[in-house]
Symmetry: C2
Subunit: 156 residues, 2 copies
């Protein structure tokens, strides 16, 4: 399980747009994030196709959010940029050399993925772009619903 580059850089570019006063250009995002402008361009093109930002061409062009920050869920953005962990086609794309997966009817591994997917959905479900705009990292980590401990596993 890995976080993809598209998720990381895409989310960072989106936050740059959210932070911007008015609109922001590719080269400004490039400077602020230290990502090559070609790569920023690719991310922005994706984010536009996902309906998260609007673009304007021309000399005073740039990008702005397509919706209010409070109405953009981080979970939705990540699902668009990197797909879901356990998506509907997962089992059929892991059938090995057979037509269908050997465990179609009952699968203990699938139960693991379902639990993980549920946990991730819970963790991301209520966070919006607005939430990430306010507050420092430390404040965000303490944000409801889940607590993130500095070390080990917390018991509630």
């Amino acid at each position: 399980m890995k976080i993809t580059a598209q998720e990381e850089y895409g989310l960072r570019c989106l936050l740059q747009v959210a932070k911007a006063d008015g609109s922001i250009t590719i080269s400004e995002i490039c400077r602020n994030e230290g990502i090559s402008s070609a790569n920023v361009a690719k991310m922005m093109s994706l984010l536009r196709k996902g309906g998260f930002v609007k673009s304007n061409r021309g000399q005073v062009g740039g990008y702005e959010l397509a919706r209010k920050p409070s109405e953009i869920a981080i979970g939705e953005v990540l699902a668009f940029l990197g797909g879901r962990l356990f998506d509907p086609g997962f089992c059929s794309s892991h059938s090995g050399i057979e037509e269908e997966c050997a465990h179609n009817s009952d699968c203990s591994v699938r139960s693991v993925w379902l639990r993980v997917q549920f946990a991730v959905d819970q963790a991301l479900g209520r966070i919006s772009v607005e939430d990430l705009l306010r507050g420092t990292e430390q404040e965000l980590i303490r944000l409801q619903p889940s607590r993130i401990p500095s070390e080990g596993i917390a018991n509630r």
Copy 2:
């Protein structure tokens, strides 16, 4: 975020070993799981290097668990097969075209990854191979996992 093939197939192979009465060969796992024998061989080699199974060569060879099923944490297996979602080198490997990530001191995106990592750890931390051996998928999904004796759980 995607579940890697190595995680899926590796876990399935490990469960085959756990299910087996005594030891099991590559070709048996291949038949049971519908995975090519070359690929099973690769997975088993990995699992052996990870210390989860022991191998025996020769005419009556095969694989068996290296530890008791109750002492093998699924989270540990998955971390070995696919790495952690947010590992210690994550930020430095996503610094774009700069030496260091532009957000080293305070990063709202990092807070997202920490939350997700914590949620996954919570969901997996206490499930063992033994848990997956008993029970159907439906039962496992509802499972309140049994505790794994103090190993393989807490990572930073």
